[in-house]
Symmetry: C2
Subunit: 478 residues, 2 copies
């Protein structure tokens, strides 16, 4: 591409796909599974259904290389309105999760990256079968026009369902490498680990994985009801910049400044709006649509400087829950001792977030994993209930774990512990479009530290009592 | 944004600007300086001019908060053709560095992110003054239509230059925080460090920085001629996927497969093309435009599997040079000893790359820096001659440094050393759009390790001789 050009966004993400996690065939296979499963979990949550998700991965190539797989992911979620299916899978930056709400998805990119990668490695069309209204099921064969960011609909068929249900099934073919090692484990092991940890973060969901060797892994739900579901939030004054405010004003009717503020911002009512406007030096009865650009900037700066706004609504978040997290850790890791905690909600730059953590100590399984990894502080990270398995070194969670003085909690370099950290928010500050690292936001870093210290204190108490009991036993035996 | 929507790419990067390094006012100020300076260095290189770049940063706000700065960056580069100026600064994914060549820029995004951040924090238009033809200078006042990814041209003026010259000056206003600490140093110190390290990587360039307190920092060029400049490369067969091949075929005339391969691929001539096509089972005289999608995929897979292609051309890269790097390190860090090395070029996935490294040992300056950082392995990273100052933990360079057994080189935890690593390539695999971390590409990781070991061996020899001389001295003194 010589000379001055404008790239389409699909072309840009095609050329820079490694930024979204599609770097090599092994990693891309993992990422494709992840993007589809996360879409299914989001869809089931939005539908209010207990998730039942199947993942089928089969080797379809005959030659030794490249390995071509057929990946099929199926769910009982909302389904997708047929008029939106082609764009949902073939138009980059198209989606319905751009709102201020705790979803797994947020970029409008994931499904398209999986489709893009499938296309450039096999040029086989993808197939999407979905039912949104409960009675008519539509099946699409699609390809991406990567130059123009448009779908190419190769075929559409529809049929009446005998039994009413909603949901989506996506099938795509892609080059991958299930057996190749990525770090200390194979891609297959990482995919299974991802699904297993998804079951920890989503104890109400059942995920069935059928691998290329015909093995079936069934992660059964351990809880039979949905957690309290996330809700949409209004923007908070601390999360506003001049562009955002300008657009909110353009989208509103002619109305007084006071009314505008009290209708559009999280936990800002008429009285708080009046209080703030007087402090900021604005006439509350002024027509909001008459503000000049300079005044909009002045108002935005005043928002940020005013410290008497109530913190953002936090009942809109959906944590895993300390008891649920503990039960899942016990079931999966059979530790000798585990302590979990859910911190109270906080906020950064106007976005509410909540940190949950757990430390599991000892037990044969954790000891074995520590020995195999050569690392006695195993770290399991989650963001909006998504397990993050890559790029641990660049994640704020690892930074906090490395910065804690563990010896003061009787945890030295040979004490086998597994650390679990979950950050949920209306906007998780990922470092990359591949969603593998949480950025070093001060408020989040601080909360992770406090959560780990809460857990570590309990672990210390347990270890102390255990040592005491052991000494007592020795004393009695002598 | 509720319901199904398609975001424009400018809207997407506005909402996700932290992914491009614009996370908080302090970091954003740094990133804005960086993006403009890197554009200037690219432009001077393309023009074949010894770079003379001025950076002026002034605090213009009167109130204590927020701090509004005026940033002006000026260069003697190519200038920008006036018909392209509005889009170059206001249309995301517009640029002229999408080719396969070693530039600092590659995303078509940097300038727009700086302008976007300026706009959402101050809503002041940016000003770009540029001369491309050497005689008429154009001045633009611009804003971004962020919803539609279009420039808004507020004014254009032009004047005849009395003396012929080319170059560009960009002025923008933005909220920042020059004094706030980011990690262990202030934003201002990091900006100065960035410019100082740029002078190491670009010894032929002069950069003058005038800070908000009126201090002038002049980084004078230490070399009076340009390094051998990078050239454009043809795609290499190992760097091809089915989409890319399909487009190359669509863009070519009707021609035989053999002619198509020998004209379009790096170091593939008619004989190598014939050899490969026979091996891959293709008729060399077949019309390339008649290939079906399946055959294109088969050809792409054959490209990747064939191991008799010559490695990619490497004379197209432009390393700093071992001698130049050493001279710059000596000048800036006055170490007791320094060893630098430029490794031979290699390639990953068809992209040529080259690693250079240096280890500087001892001397008062390095000792002082090690003590202040509390870290005795200072790491200075560069990619395509850009200093990388953030997100060290997530960078492959840090991973390699942590993985080396330094004690076998007589370098223990209290030995003060500074490590320099430079990776240049036609495509540096950055993890993020903010260009702060190099990804863990195996071939690159291996080369960094070998380069550091080359340098470490020399440092060990020096330390050994030093200790021996000290013992000898003690012996004589007794
Ligand atoms: N299994 C599914 N069930 C229902 N809707 C789906 C499903 N898969 C995709 N979608 C729809 O397609 C849209 C695009 O999905 P995509 O993964 O590309 O983006 P996203 O999930 O919104 O964000 P992200 O890029 O962060 O994953 C979604 O917003 C959703 O509306
Ligand atoms: N100082 C300058 N001199 C000459 N051309 C410039 C200058 N600044 C910007 N440009 C032009 O504007 C284009 C857009 O710049 P921008 O920084 O947005 O993208 P880029 O440099 O191509 O890639 P990246 O996003 O990686 O920086 C450049 O490709 C270049 O053609
Ligand atoms: Mg998604
Ligand atoms: Mg640039």
């Amino acid at each position: 591409m010589k000379g001055f050009t404008q790239l389409s966004v699909s072309d840009w993400f095609y050329r820079n796909r490694y930024i979204a996690g599609f770097s090599n065939p092994a990693r891309s296979l993992y990422q494709a599974v992840r993007e589809l499963v996360e879409n299914s979990l989001d869809a089931c949550e939005i539908a209010g259904n207990l998730p039942y998700i199947t993942v089928d991965l089969k080797l379809v190539s005959e030659r030794k290389s490249p390995k071509v797989y057929r990946l099929t992911v199926s769910d009982n979620g909302t389904g997708i309105p047929p008029e939106h299916v082609p764009q949902a899978f073939c138009t980059v930056l198209f989606g319905n999760k751009f709102e201020l709400k705790q979803h797994r998805g947020l970029f409008g990119l994931g499904a398209k990256m999986a489709v893009l990668y499938s296309q450039i490695t096999t040029y086989k069309p993808i197939e999407v079968t979905t039912c949104y209204d409960g009675c008519i099921e539509h099946s699409f064969q699609l390809q991406m026009d990567l130059k123009n960011n448009k779908p190419i609909v190769l075929s559409v068929t529809s049929r009446k369902l005998r039994k009413p249900r909603t949901g989506t099934t996506v099938t795509l073919y892609l080059v991958g490498d299930y057996d190749r090692s990525l770090g200390s484990r194979s891609t297959g092991e990482l995919i299974i680990e991802y699904l297993r940890l998804s079951a920890i973060a989503n104890p109400h969901s059942t995920i069935v994985f059928s691998d290329p060797y015909g093995m079936i892994y069934k992660f059964e739900r351990s809880v039979d009801k949905l957690p309290p579901l996330p809700k949409e939030a209004d923007p908070h004054p601390h999360g506003v910049d001049a562009e955002m405010l300008k657009r909110m004003i353009e989208g509103s009717r002619n109305t007084s400044l006071q009314a505008f503020l009290s209708k559009n911002f999280d936990r800002v009512g008429p009285r708080k709006a009046l209080e703030f406007l007087k402090w900021a030096g604005f006439d509350p009865s002024r027509d909001v649509k008459e503000l000049s650009n300079e005044e909009i900037v002045k108002l935005t700066n005043a928002f940020k400087a005013y410290d008497k706004f109530l913190p953002p609504s936090s009942n809109i978040l959906s944590p895993i829950g300390a008891e649920e997290l503990k039960a899942a850790i016990v079931k999966l890791f059979t530790p000798e001792f585990v302590k979990t905690v859910t911190r109270p909600p906080k906020s950064y730059s106007g976005y509410p977030f909540q940190v949950e953590a757990g430390i599991a100590y000892g037990g044969p399984m954790i000891e074995k994993m520590c020995n195999r990894e050569g690392n006695f502080k195993l770290l399991f990270r989650f963001a909006n209930k998504i397990p993050l398995l890559f790029d641990e070194r660049g994640d704020v969670c690892r930074k906090v774990v490395d910065g804690i003085n563990w010896r003061q909690y009787r945890i030295d370099d040979a004490t086998p512990i597994a650390i679990f950290i979950h950050v949920c928010s209306t906007r998780v500050p990922y470092k990359t479009a591949g969603k593998e690292m949480i950025a070093d936001v001060e408020e989040i870093e601080e909360e992770i530290k406090l959560a780990l210290m809460d857990c570590a204190r309990e672990v210390r108490r347990y270890i102390y009592r255990k040592l005491k009991a052991e000494k007592e036993q020795e004393r009695l035996n002598i």
